[in-house]
Subunit: 344 residues, 2 copies
């Protein structure tokens, strides 16, 4: 097992990335191959308290960096010597088992699709963040890679999410639900109605455990392990959870700062509130997997600190050892729709 | 000014509805015309502590009740003597200035559209709930009446929301934003891109104050006064806010119940937390307006208690006196798209 890490991607690169990689390597025993400007990486290693590269850590030099201002669709091609492109090629060639980057989401997705390629038969790769829900967690698939979807894409997202929940989140029989407006069969737009028919058939064939449609409120209350969505509404869901949580934390802070009495109250629950805040913290989750790519690619949050990078590397190792991609390859025939309806 | 109220609609009807109407009538001076089974209404009036109908309160008998199990599309037609159908007809005939119902959303929307009718030139009526956002409130339009939309519908929703924010929420220059995935112009699906062009043109013509796209997180942080969405993603947004808030309150409760120390902390902020909980409480908001209908129709939450009904009646009175519908009628030419693209 070896995880390839884009040392130059993200707001806090390379410092936070190298520190996170050091932690994963030294304290969790995960071999890491860092890709980027060697001298900068070595300087960060030194700043991290190491005189030389620790055992299990390697560097592969790459001189260019994909910037946020670069066009996502072409950046990996235009910058052939970027840490992102070199890293993806290393993954393709088998120099490591997974690739982690905190760089541009669009560039990483385009690069993963065109360099590493999708699993044969998969129409579109999807982004699958794991989100906290009441009583546990759930995987949302897709959360923004595909703004426009066909029923077949959504069927495939359902399988991908279900395999992930089973293999990585260790849910024995993941409850798969379609994000919709209203739980009744008749609810939703054409895309939802057509997808519902496909998911129902897959459920009846015993391939996934489809429990029907779910609304955002029930999804947050833990009503499903896999939330299937087109990239547009999935992204709205994800960003809204983030916004509503931030809104609540701000209101809570306001409540606590009202007067001396409330401030004392705040002091008494400080520790527990910290735990609660952590629940909603993206750096705790560590990264979003790109499902449907033929090898594991993990996007860490752009603002990742060292801890977030460590978590993303841990998740990458979990994913790489899970057998998920083999699951998909074995099931791919059932994941196709005879006559796919592609949107214009 | 007189508000027509569906006495039989909602989970707690007629008791809660009649109590709410009594409060609006007696304590806020708003004349109310209750529609429903006279004997039941009178009994509730009596239980509300009144021997006879108070001044300003009238009853119009209607024998039938639209139930949740009735088909929404046809209920108002099949049950011609229902409180919903009779109430909508009274509104159409001018027996009152607005109609409030806590009954079936679908039946109310279908009835409002077919009995009271849309404002001439408006393609679809939209549901416009007012939601709490950090530092204030915003109107979301649409939140579920139209799962499938054209750019023209969204353009009209933007105008409707903007007029509402100006006239009812008293925002001088409402910031109108399109709910999207990413704030950049190039983001989103075809519907968003085409709508963006229309909204931009309306903004440049000085008709609305269009500030571009907005994501769910920024919307919750108060980034816009009017959030324009198709009914599908608008509903996902609304339900997710509800779910995330509930999730946070439950986690908060868990944090507070950890031990004796945290329980004391909870006691010290009890009052302020109550205020915070109120923020997210639908009964405080009171109802959702149906924008684009030629007269004010307000949907109160199905589980409305008396206070929620009172608030919905107050909102209906505000709306009826606002001049909003006249605004729309005056601007309707600018709200049309030359060659509307209707979806199949």
């Amino acid at each position: 097992m070896k995880i390839i890490v884009d040392a130059m991607g993200g707001d806090n690169a390379p410092g936070a990335v190298v520190r996170g990689a050091l932690d994963a390597c030294k304290n969790h025993g995960i071999p890491v191959l860092l890709v980027g400007r060697t001298e900068e990486i070595l300087r960060c290693v030194e700043e991290g308290g190491e005189k030389t590269l620790p055992k299990g850590m390697e560097i592969r030099d790459a001189r260019e960096v994909v910037e946020i201002c670069d066009d996502p669709a072409t950046a990996f091609k235009m910058k052939k010597d970027s840490s992102l492109t070199v890293g993806l090629n290393l993954l393709k060639e088998g120099a490591g088992d997974a690739f982690v980057s905190a760089g541009s989401t669009g560039a990483l997705l385009a690069g993963a699709t065109l360099v590493v390629k999708r699993i044969r038969g998969i129409r579109r790769a999807a982004m699958g963040p794991v989100i906290p829900v009441f009583g546990g967690r759930a995987i949302l698939c897709d959360c923004g890679a595909n703004a426009e979807c066909t029923p077949e894409y959504l069927l495939q997202f359902a399988y991908l999410g279900s395999f992930y929940a089973k293999r990585v989140l260790k849910v024995e029989k993941p409850r798969v639900a379609l994000l919709n407006i209203g739980a009744e069969e008749s609810k939703g737009d054409t895309l939802r109605k057509e997808t519902h028919a496909l998911l129902k058939a897959a459920g009846e064939a015993g391939r996934i455990h489809y429990i029907g449609s779910i609304e955002g409120n029930d999804a947050m209350m833990g009503g499903a392990d896999v939330i299937v969505a087109d990239g547009f509404s999935g992204n709205v869901f994800l960003k809204t959870v983030e916004g509503a949580a931030r809104f609540m934390m701000k209101e809570l802070k306001k409540a606590f700062y009202t007067n001396a009495r409330t401030k004392l109250g705040a002091l008494l629950v400080k520790k527990e509130l910290g735990e609660m805040k952590k629940l909603m913290d993206p750096s705790e989750v560590g990264g979003t997997v790109f499902l449907g790519i033929s090898k594991p690619v993990i996007k860490a949050h752009g603002s990742s600190d060292a801890r977030a990078i460590t978590n993303a590397i841990l998740r990458a190792a979990e994913y790489a050892g899970s057998g998920l991609i083999e699951d998909v390859e074995r099931s791919i025939d059932a994941m196709k729709v005879e006559r796919p309806r592609e949107k214009a």
